[in-house]
Amino acid sequence: MTATLPRNKQSLALAVEPAAGKRRLSTAKAMQEAISQRMDRDQSVFVMGEDVGSYGGIFSSTTGLIDRFGPDRVLDTPISETAFIGLGIGAAVEGMRPVVELMFADFFGVCMDQIYNHMAKIHYESGGNVRVPMVLMMAAGGGYSDGAQHSQCLWGTFAHLPGMKVVVPSNPYDAKGLMSAAIDSDDPVVFVFHKGVMGLGWMAKNARSIGAVPEQEYVVPIGKARVAREGTDVTIVTVSLSVHHSLDVAEKLESEGISVEVIDLRSLVPLDREAIVDSVSKTGRLIVVDEDYQSFGLSGEVIAVVAEHDPSLLKRVSRVCVPDVPIPYARELEYAVLPTPARIEAAVRDAVAT
């Protein structure tokens, strides 16, 4: 194991959140670019997963990489998540920097031991002597009738278990910056990308899944939220595709004189508690919008952050989440459980009504 080798920071002094510039990419292409640029710079970075090679990843996370780097560095695996995620762990402890794809977050069930009992715990159990500089990326989210086993978000589950960082970019700029930061990090990072923000041609896409992305290499710091929109009446704390829905709602309600502040968490672990508290201190009204399951997860955590800090800050609090139900197939039912703009708008109106 490359235990206490110092990181060569000289070559990794990347810009932090530079100006976006004019060049636009989809979130998928932004992820590809981040991985590609890191693979150019560091031979120890490689990609592994199901259909990540010539197929380019079923949600286009790795399109084009095999053409540039070859099958030795972009590896299609058998359907053996336990084996190949574990392989990533072992390669990481010996100094490589694997980017491993779990095709759907929903598939964590078949390989969770390697993730939470090994990838996330080896550094701690070894008293900091063994590092696991690995990225585990996974597609998540619903809205296109993929049913209960292929539509989940599940970032709350990963965030709940100690030892792995969890990042959830909502847009192309953050996707590239967080992927670069994740590869750069010596900690294991779970990188969750919502299929609905990838800008795919075969799935209805939100306009903000295409956005300006700097051509240079840069990082978005892990553990820092972003104020996606400033406001004064209500704070929405949210993540991933729900950021876009919240922004759409905020834009609509502006004309009615309702001022909504939208906080894009970007990372769940570490959680930017300060950003949450700062915003709610200002507005006094908190709505958490989370496409993950409602109970025992991210939304409760965000509310607890404020309540522990100072419960008197909260004049109103509510959450818009997927209820505790398997995600249904029929479109009418699926859209009844998702945190849609209509549900978000109703929550905002409710929050400002008193």
Binding site: L87, I89, G90, A91, V93, G128, N129, V130, D187, I222
Partner: protein
């Protein structure tokens, strides 16, 4: 440990194997004594200097000695919840290992890991408490060694019960498919806790399963350290030369319980199991063939006792971790939040 090839054992090599096994047994006996010392009369698993579960490897010394004779500290070895024999044979330093078992700050994991989670980066040794899940990371270590253009190998050790876990099958398939320099070692000690192999495994031997995954499978039937040494030599040489993985299953012997405190009421051979103790059997053989001179065995024991007592004394006199420090080491970068 000096790496060896498929060359036949010399007498010096035989004595080295004996000495390794004696050291392991001495160690396990000392840990056992320390474990029970302050838990009795009524056994309280959480009490005493060495709390928690304890899985000792008495009887399985031949596997560790025979395999590790072919490894250098640069080869990786992943072990199970029953790791001590493999750690010792692989050259893991006894002081930090023992301190970790005792939960001290000077342990390998600063007391965070304990006996089932020993990590020694300098010998690429690790172990895990989850059955069969040590195999996939061994694949990754082998993968890295291959990519780094070395002839280093990864040895992944598991039990016969673990050979029915998904991770075992996935790992064998992937290692063979990608021709990784791995040696899989199954320690068949007859018992998955209380369930005998005949009640868990659909085939007579896991060596048969190797064929299903496109790799050679070898079964060593009699817990003979020299037979293990021979099989391991071939397997390690195969891996080093880029020919891919091998599965070795050793029919070994769990002399004591699955864990310390295990009454083993399920075990019909309890009264006679000591008759198959591999250490006196091998000692007698080496004495008969003149490989061991009079007194040499006792010399090995004395040396082992000295080393083990030093390690235990070191552990006992080491500081316990500061409770206020419990959040350290979760991440390399950034505060745990």
């Amino acid at each position: 440990m000096t790496p060896s090839t498929t060359q036949a054992l010399t007498d010096e090599g035989r004595r080295a194997l004996m000495s390794t096994m004696v050291l392991i047994r001495t160690y396990e006996e000392a840990i056992r004594a320390a474990y029970y010392a302050d838990k009795l009369p009524a056994f309280d698993i959480g009490a005493g200097l060495v709390p928690g579960e304890m899985h000792l490897s008495a009887g399985q010394e031949p596997v560790a000695a025979g395999i590790c004779a072919h490894l250098t500290p640069q080869d990786a070895l992943t072990a199970t919840h029953r790791p001590h024999h493999l750690a010792i044979a692989h050259g893991v330093a006894l002081r930090p290992m023992t301190a970790e078992i005792f939960g001290r700050e000077s342990g390998f994991g600063h007391g965070r890991g304990g006996h089932m989670h020993l990590f020694d980066p300098s010998t690429h040794f690790s172990c895990s408490g989850i059955i069969a899940e040590g195999l996939p990371p061994a694949l990754g270590q082998a993968f890295a060694f291959q990519r780094q253009s070395t002839d280093r190998v990864a040895v992944a050790v598991t039990g016969e019960g673990a050979a029915n876990q998904g991770a075992f099958h996935e790992s064998l398939n992937l290692a063979a498919l990608w021709k990784l320099p791995v040696v899989f070692v199954v320690e068949d000690n007859d018992w998955g806790i209380s369930v005998p192999r005949s009640h868990s495994t659909s085939v007579a031997s896991n060596a048969e399963r190797a064929a299903a995954y496109g790799m050679p499978g070898v079964r060593v039937e009699d817990n003979s350290v020299e037979a293990i040494y021979a099989a391991a030599g071939q397997a390690v040489a195969r891996a080093r030369s880029g020919e891919g993985p091998t599965l070795i299953e050793v029919h070994t012997l769990r002399l004591w319980g699955h864990f310390e405190g295990d009454a083993e009421g399920y075990r019909p051979d309890l009264d006679s199991v000591h008759e198959h103790d591999p250490i006196p059997i091998y000692r007698d053989r080496l004495l008969q063939t003149g490989v061991l001179a009079d007194g040499q065995y006792e010399g090995m024991q004395a040396s082992a006792v000295q080393r083990v007592e030093d390690a235990i004394d070191f552990a006992k006199s080491s500081a316990t971790p500061d409770p206020l420090d419990h959040l350290s080491y979760v991440f390399c970068e950034g505060v745990n939040s």
